[in-house]
């Protein structure tokens, strides 16, 4: 009988969940151990491949910058196959994504009105290959989106018109509403009805067909249905502009992805890993899990690495030191440098790439693919 040792993924951010999903597809048993919530609630849900080049200029075609892509040992076919895998996994999880047919970046607006390059964008979010005139509707109390400033920036950068319509908040709204409160309301029957009526009234005297953009508050559970119904009722596409803190795009993906994995037998353990060896992990609560380990602990940002006041950096899962130049600008790139055969490292903790400067999802995918390649035998020899 072949060994059916489970895989232990430490961390439930995008790298951890992607690794878990790929292993699941190959028939492995998977346990995800995580102390925190993962980074998804802070994320719009749009995946960057390579959005900003070394001079911080926006990138149209990531594959033109092959020299700078994370995961230098991957060729174009491997990258494309990897992105297809991620798309497919998201689809299974219940998230449809848009991608440019030419494998180039799409453009998607931030809450500031600036269009930024994105590679894979969930269907609920507005993304295009070329800018076009838009109409933006928002409601009182949505503080992160300033319609006036958004339109000014959008028009300045794209030379396309942005019409804005400010609407009053629904009855029952209070100044303490966060995007989560809005989502809860709009997921409900009455909230949905209010939204459709209000948008219809708002757009009543406009006769154009350009897309209607709204802040990312359109529910968590029923987002796609609501947007689809609105499209039918208004006769034009309705898409979201992501906000921040919390980002509903990331919240939706986190919920659905976890639900999917749980439904397919992946075990989630809420605990902190305080030791790793050749047999498995030791937990803060005193227990231990045996299996083959993959660290997806998120680097410094995710809590996988901890900076001490004397400027030493510790890998919180293993207790080992991580090398750091001492320069703040290098912090996003530090990682577990030695190829360690006892455990895999993916995502930010693998280091070597500044995802915040160039594009984070690309780094996640690159490191996961590199790990899969290194572990080929173990990953693809499924034991059922």
């Amino acid at each position: 009988m072949p060994m059916t040792e489970p895989w232990i993924i430490v961390g439930k951010g995008p790298a951890g969940l992607l690794a878990a999903s790929l292993l699941l597809e190959q028939g492995h048993r998977v346990v995800v151990v995580a102390k925190g919530q993962g980074s998804l609630p802070l994320w719009s849900g749009a995946l960057d491949f390579y959005s900003w080049d070394t001079k911080q200029h926006p990138v149209k075609a990531p594959y033109d910058h092959a020299d700078h892509l994370p995961g230098l040992s991957l060729n174009r076919e491997q990258w494309q196959a990897g992105w297809e895998d991620w798309r497919r996994i998201l689809q299974k999880v219940g998230v449809q994504t848009q991608v440019s047919p030419d494998h180039e970046n799409l453009l998607s607006p931030t809450l500031s009105g600036v269009l930024v390059p994105r590679y894979l964008v969930p269907e609920w979010q507005y993304a295009v290959t070329d800018p076009e005139p838009v109409t933006v509707v928002s409601w009182e109390g949505i503080l992160d989106l300033d319609l006036h400033l958004w339109a000014e920036r959008y028009q300045q950068h794209t030379k396309m018109a942005a019409k804005t319509i400010q609407r009053p908040a629904p009855g029952g709204w209070t100044a303490r509403w966060t995007p989560l409160h809005w989502a809860g309301y709009l997921d409900s029957e009455s909230g949905r009805r209010w939204l459709a009526d209000d948008l219809e009234a708002a757009l009543d005297d406009t006769f154009d067909q350009c897309p209607v953009l709204v802040p990312q508050i359109i529910g968590i559970r029923h987002t796609e249905e609501i947007l689809s119904d609105l499209r039918v009722r208004l006769g034009r596409p309705v898409k979201e502009i992501p906000l921040i803190a919390p980002c509903l795009g990331g919240v939706r993906i986190a919920e659905r992805w976890k639900e999917y994995l749980l439904g397919h037998g992946v075990r989630f353990v809420a605990d902190e890993v305080v030791g790793v060896d050749g047999f498995g992990v030791q937990l803060a609560t005193g227990g231990a899990l045996s299996g083959r380990v993959v660290l997806a602990t998120g680097g410094v940002l995710g809590g996988g690495f901890r900076l001490q006041w004397d400027r030493t950096v510790i890998n919180t899962a293993t207790g080992q030191s991580i090398a750091w130049s001492g320069k703040p600008e290098d912090l996003s790139c530090i990682g577990v440098s030695d190829a360690n055969s006892l455990w895999g490292v993916v995502g930010r903790s693998a280091g070597g790439w500044d995802g915040d400067r160039h594009g984070g999802a690309g780094h996640v995918l690159g490191t996961v693919l590199a790990w899969v390649n290194a572990m080929h035998e173990e990953v693809y020899c499924a034991a059922r």
């Binding site: 900003w52 911080q56 503080l143 001490q308 912090l331 996003s332 984070g360």
Partner: protein, 480 residues
């Protein structure tokens, strides 16, 4: 009309004093209120016990003014009390000398028990009447009082010239947002702190000014209920001051030649942490927020050949100049600002033949305007700053708004509120100008965070950059 240069504690204190004597005043500052030394405070209302071993004059002055400020500036003083704790290395002889010194300076002192978190080996502990000064609010109260009394305060005006007539000061020339302006002056007070030397050079009379830099570490949470001092001869890293929900640990003392407060170096921060860990073994685990420095304008008395700035008295001096009507004040500390102001005002009033005596020891500072925490949405959640609170300070830049309302000073250091306040500003000054203000605000916040880049603060800094560049689309390019 008296022109006071410098809107820090000294300048505003002088203007308040003169205004109460009926003297017309105008205060000028190159920046906003307290943007210099007074705004980079430790915030300690000294009992004076720190100085009993080395500077008896300062010790006595501090105790007297401590009691007086509790009378006239009560809303801006917190009566936390303070502890002095001696490490086992400190001789019993020194402790006895210290106790005697407190007695001589009339500083009430009593044996006390330790507070949680202190090194349990430090068993000789005494309580004194230290307090905490809310510096920004006190400066704003002084400003309010001055304006209510008819005085002017003009910020963002750099003094570039002082024109005499017949040997007396006549006109002050300043550079403001609209270009050069002139102001008639019958007397001028140079209370420009670290820049006092530059101001005195306008009338060609150099000052015996020595600049000393001190750094501080700001931690989240009120780590101790009282001020905690090291009982020893004064050294680096001796004092922890609680302010509302943060704690300030400091400080150091290094001679410098620039009035600008530089970013603390790693070596200085590490040194301060080492001193702190001896007193508070868990300090390495505390949530650090940032590190900043301040520059002290010290008076080096003639004959004082002290090599280290620590040994220069914290005493202050009021100097005349050959240019009649020009007075400079250097030295001193927050705790004794009122006394410094009184001595300056005495000199100026005598020069102008005003007979009214000083009233700042008796007249309380005005109260804060009631800015209600309304039901309107919070732009800054860490510090509970709402739009209506910002409206009270309409016209101020993002950086100045920060010191008035405390937005951006909480754990997130502006990550989630910077863009919101910038959006509000853009309605007043347009997108381009507001974006520039946001960039300057971000840069300043980053400098302080990077000077203390560890633990949750390192995470916060990375998160801030991630949010700025990924979610907000802020440009990382210098040319934007």
């Amino acid at each position: 009309m008296v022109v006071v240069i410098g809107a820090g504690a000294t300048g505003l204190g002088v203007a308040w004093d003169l205004m109460l004597r009926g003297v017309p005043v105008a205060v000028l500052d190159q920046g906003d209120l307290g943007h210099g030394t007074s705004g980079r405070f430790h915030g300690l209302l000294h009992s004076g016990a720190r100085y009993v071993l080395t500077d008896a004059v300062a010790a006595r002055q501090c105790q007297t003014e401590n009691l007086r400020l509790r009378q006239v500036a009560a809303p801006y003083i917190e009566s936390t009390g303070g502890l002095f704790a001696a490490s086992p290395d400190v001789s019993e002889n020194l402790v006895q000398n210290w106790l005697r010194g407190c007695h001589d300076a009339k500083i009430p002192v009593a044996p006390a028990s330790p507070v949680q978190g202190m090194n349990a080996q430090w068993k000789r502990i005494y309580e004194v009447n230290d307090g905490v000064i809310n510096g920004y609010q006190l400066l704003q109260a002084l400003a309010r009082g001055i304006r209510q009394g008819g005085g002017q305060i003009l910020t963002h005006r750099r003094v570039v010239g002082a024109r005499p007539m017949k040997g007396k000061i006549h006109t002050i020339v300043m550079e403001g947002p609209d270009g050069l302006e002139e102001m008639r002056a019958d007397a001028v007070v140079n209370s420009a702190g670290p820049w006092a030397g530059q101001i005195a050079s306008l009338w060609s009379d150099p000052l015996p000014l020595t600049l000393s830099r001190g750094i501080m570490l700001l931690f989240s949470h009120r780590q101790t209920p009282k001020v905690i001092n090291r009982l020893d001869v004064p050294g680096d890293g001796d004092i922890l001051v609680p302010h509302h929900h943060i704690s300030i640990w400091g400080t150091t003392d290094t001679e410098t030649d620039s009035p600008k407060a530089p970013t603390p170096s790693h070596a200085e921060v590490a040194h301060l942490m080492e001193r702190g860990l001896a007193m508070f073994p868990d300090m390495g685990e505390w949530r650090v927020l940032r590190s900043f420095s301040g520059v002290r304008p010290l008076y080096r008395a003639p004959g004082n050949l002290a090599r280290e700035t620590r040994h220069i008295s914290r005493d202050f001096v009021v100097l005349d100049h050959p240019l009649k009507g020009a007075f400079s004040v250097i030295g001193g500390k927050w705790t004794t600002y009122r006394l410094m102001a009184e001595q300056v005002a005495d000199r100026v009033a005598a020069y102008l033949h005003y007979a009214t005596p000083c009233q700042t020891g008796a007249v309380p500072l005005p109260l804060a305007n009631a800015v209600g925490v309304g039901a309107d949405p919070l732009l800054c959640e860490c510090e509970s700053v709402s739009k209506s609170q910002l409206r009270a300070f309409e016209g101020l830049s993002l950086s100045d708004l920060r010191t008035r309302t405390w937005f951006g000073m909480g754990p997130c250091q502006g990550t989630f509120c910077g863009h919101r306040v910038m959006q509000w500003r853009s309605h007043q000054i347009g997108e381009e100008a507001a974006s520039k203000e946001l960039a300057a605000f971000r840069e300043e916040r980053e400098r302080g965070m990077c000077a203390a880049l560890w633990g949750d603060n390192a995470v916060e800094w990375l998160l801030q950059r991630n949010i700025r560049f990924q979610s907000l689309g802020e440009s990382q390019r210098a040319d934007d």
